[in-house]
Symmetry: C2
Subunit: 148 residues, 2 copies
């Protein structure tokens, strides 16, 4: 009777996005992070800290999309590894400020080339003009989903 309701996965945006995301993560872990004894979430925190400088934990949560209690425990581990410091904010004693140590910065700078190479590998065969469209659209869609 009625047409069957169908979901064309091969053309369904959330499927395409998360499938690629998973492949990128798997590659990053296997080829780069494992030797450094870093998990993907640790790397995300370090990358955010490198990119934006010292941050409160709540801002790390926001920028990394990692859940708050997980961030709290990851920061503890990163501090124990000597890659970050955690100290109370001067302006508000309920806040905590996380900052890369010299060792942490060195670690990030050792990883960045591999991270860039990963992006290159993924981008093979895609015109620069198309990649610009992709990145702009990914940012816009994120805004659409979160209201920034």
């Amino acid at each position: 009777m009625s047409d069957r309701l169908q979901l064309d996965l091969a053309n369904y945006l959330p499927y395409l996005v998360n499938r690629l995301g998973g492949a990128l993560v798997a590659d990053m872990i296997a080829n780069t992070l494992a030797p450094f004894d870093l998990t993907i979430d640790m790397w995300r925190l370090l990358a955010v800290l490198s990119y934006r400088g010292a941050q409160r934990q709540v801002d790390l949560v926001d920028m990394s999309s990692i859940e708050a209690s997980t961030v709290s425990r990851l920061v503890t581990r990163l501090a124990r590894m000597g890659l970050v410091t955690r100290k109370r904010s001067e302006t508000s004693s309920r806040e905590v400020v996380i900052e890369l140590t010299a060792k942490g910065r060195a670690q990030v700078e050792r990883i960045i080339p591999a991270a860039l190479k990963l992006e290159q590998t993924a981008s093979t065969g895609i015109p620069a003009k198309d990649m610009a469209v992709v990145k702009r659209s990914l940012r816009r869609m994120f805004e659409n989903m979160t209201g920034r």
Copy 2:
């Protein structure tokens, strides 16, 4: 001395992809899956089964990017919920074939409209031509990372 090695997160593909993926998943869970008592991975399996029909578990692993032992256990739960059946393959008794039940198909058809609406929401303000570029590029990048 040397320029500092930097990673521009706001323009870094893996970051943009996984950040959007997380936002899409969070929305899907909160607004659609939770009321059905489904996890995101359960939904992925159901969607693949709906899209491609009965599948061996190993093929579900391949198409869903979910780890094999997790698929095994999720299928057990889905079967217990009456959404799929699991039976030994006729051609090879080490294989198992998973198939949607009528109840499972009905469930998927109730979810699909919300899934399409999610895609619409994310796509707001993005020209159809750009979206075509995005989807084509996402598929190509996945191929680049996995060799298909």
